[in-house]
């Protein structure tokens, strides 16, 4: 029971972080139809900005400043990069963001080196929140969850209860009409892109010190974020939320299971020894396949239901 509860909490905090990352990506996609390959790079920049500014102004101001900086960079990317490339179609946009991801990684190499930087959890949050049976639950993980849920709530209210949210939703489905009504649709696009990247930046600020801040962190989460978005349904915020939690749980819980095909054979009464055919394959445990499972899930989802869990467009 202790193990189950702790693993559940761990999977929740990981899933919520994934959601923070993928919400921006899915928002941008639903608005602009741009699959932003550089999204995880903004996550990385968030972590590095928070580390760098935190050296001077401390963690708490950096928590706000770093996402803003990332958002400004995102806005500039849209205004001076994507908008120019847009007229050449989606392939050009895709290639643009693809290249951008590499550029960001190299810039990070140049500025901060190839080794991890010492970006730490602030001392105020470095304590045990509560003890469940015998396992301590770190306060910082609680804080991560709090920030993610707060962000989800704020995003939901912004999109459904405010004027700007209505304009965003309207430009999503009827950009020409919104334009005709006198709204500046390109600026709305820029704002959405900035907002999406700022969300990724925020995820970087709180994920960077919980895990590790190094130049490889963008590549490490980059592919999993796409899995979340595809699995949840392109452009669906609710789908991304559900998918994040499912994939978080899948990756966290899979570690726990040491069952392999050997056990299945044994149950059937077939004895497989190390000399048997394909022993290496049979002896792979579920915990070892953990890293592959999300991708497997994505492939299956694309076959069975190409638009994803809650997606509205045909994939």
């Amino acid at each position: 029971m202790e193990f189950f509860l702790i693993t559940l909490l761990n999977s929740l905090s990981y899933g919520l972080l994934l959601f923070m990352l993928s919400s921006g990506l899915t928002l941008i996609f639903s608005m602009m139809g741009v699959l932003n390959f550089a999204h995880a790079s903004f996550y990385m920049l968030g972590a590095y900005f928070a580390y760098q500014t935190g050296l001077y102004i401390g963690f708490w101001p950096a928590l706000f400043l770093a996402p803003v900086l990332v958002g400004v960079l995102g806005a500039a990317t849209e205004r001076f990069g994507l908008r120019t490339v847009h007229k050449f179609g989606h392939v050009a946009e895709l290639l643009f963001t693809f290249g951008l991801a590499y550029v960001v990684e190299e810039v990070v190499h140049l500025l901060w080196g190839r080794a991890p930087v010492d970006y730490r959890i602030p001392a105020e949050l470095d304590f045990t929140l509560f003890t469940l049976y015998t396992t301590q639950y770190p306060a910082y993980r609680g804080f991560m969850m709090l920030v993610s849920v707060g962000m989800l709530l704020a995003l939901y209210l912004l999109l459904t209860r405010t004027r700007i949210g209505l304009v965003i939703q309207a430009s999503l489905s009827h950009p020409d009409m919104v334009q005709a009504l006198g709204h500046n649709v390109p600026r709305v696009f820029m704002l959405v892109f900035a907002g999406g990247t700022a969300l990724a930046g925020l995820a970087g600020v709180i994920g960077g010190n919980a895990f590790i801040t190094e130049p490889g962190m963008a590549t490490a989460v980059g592919s999993i974020v796409f899995v979340v978005v595809v699995f949840g349904g392109m452009g669906s915020l609710g789908g991304a939320f559900l998918a994040s939690l499912i994939i978080g749980a899948l990756q966290t819980f899979s570690v726990a299971f040491d069952y392999s095909m050997l056990d299945a054979w044994a149950r059937l009464g077939i004895d497989v020894s190390p000399n048997s055919l394909w022993y290496g394959f049979w002896s792979i445990t579920i915990s070892q396949t953990g890293p592959v499972l999300p991708y497997l899930l994505m492939v299956l989802m694309l076959i069975v239901r190409p638009r994803g869990l809650m997606g509205t467009r045909e994939g």
Binding site: E2, F3, R114, T134, Q136, G216, D258
Partner: protein
Amino acid sequence: MRHLKTALLFCAAFLAPMLSAGSHAEETVRIAFIEGLSGAFANVGEIGLRHYQLAAETVNARGGVLGGVKFEIVPFDHKTSPQEAQLVFKQAADQGIRYIAQGNGSSVALALSDAVAKHNERNPQKTVIFLNYAAVDPALTNDKCNYWHFRFDADADMKMQALTNYMAQLKGIRKIYLINQDYSFGQAVAKAARTMLAAKRPDIEIVGDDLHPLGKVKDFAPYVAKIKSSGADSVITGNWGNDLALLVKAGREAGLKADFYTYYTGAAGAVTAFGEAGAGHVKQVTTWHSNIGGKHAGEHNAEYRARFPDVSDDLYYSAIRESINALALAIEKAKSTDPGKVAAALENLVFEDDSGEVYMRADNHQLVQPLYISTLVKANGKNARFDVEKTGLGFRTDARIEGKDTVMPTTCKFQRP
């Protein structure tokens, strides 16, 4: 016209290193440091590079070898990928470099050893020697041994032998959890731990045996939850670099009380991650640490700190100093910098290091040296004088295993040229 220009540029780019290669060979022995200098293990690679720079500078400061030949360390990045390592080895060889050094990643070392053997077979006039300072998969000096490969660290089996002999005496150990990286070295550690513990302490239960992807896991909390629920009182891990630091960090956050038996706590941030919580609970088996006593260990530690004041890491790899010193001695003995003659001179070479007399086995090219089992404790000015990573925590020797007691039988049968 444009095509011609591009073609010329390409030729120039490829020829430039070849042209420069000839002119240097007279005054310097260049050693290609082929290591993961980017990616998840970049920090460990950089620590190794600093060690090599210091070791080479020390030899150069005393006048080099053969009355003036200097050592030069040339870094190459293998990105912790065996394929990449073979490519950069080719580059190094094309630049006329005759000595290579590598340690991080036994999978990489196996690929390099193979590449070196093939290269030397095809180019008997341009042979290359491989100095291995940390890749400890036993296969490198057993089934997959090769005449041109010399290992200066003790292999995983030698270390596990020492560790399990020590653990066998500790009656408090009932349940052990094995967690290792999923590649040749991690698998070797897990296998050695299982077989040796079964022979020495059959009453100990192995309650878990996990292999996780190398350098990919950023959150070890799920693994720690698993270790906790298994009820293990001790954990054996061969993890290194961030794989160890993050494991330990997750363990501390969750309040895991188990003792850690490790190979690599002394390097790359693990002690910082343990912090005070690790004092008394973390042990490592190594060829050296700064508190082994004797005349030089403390001095060498101080030299490293003085040379690299801006970094938080400390002297860790004695094997790097040993490989450079052995190379210098072998060059003097052979009166030549030619790897063919130096390799012969390295065999059976006896020399002094901080821990006493060490020698290079001729039958499999494994350095035989004492091993130390040590515990992380608060630095106390006596048996744990020097701390690690400026944490106030340092290693205290629990047991010293003499070199002769670490010697293992070998299956190695290499062809001498």
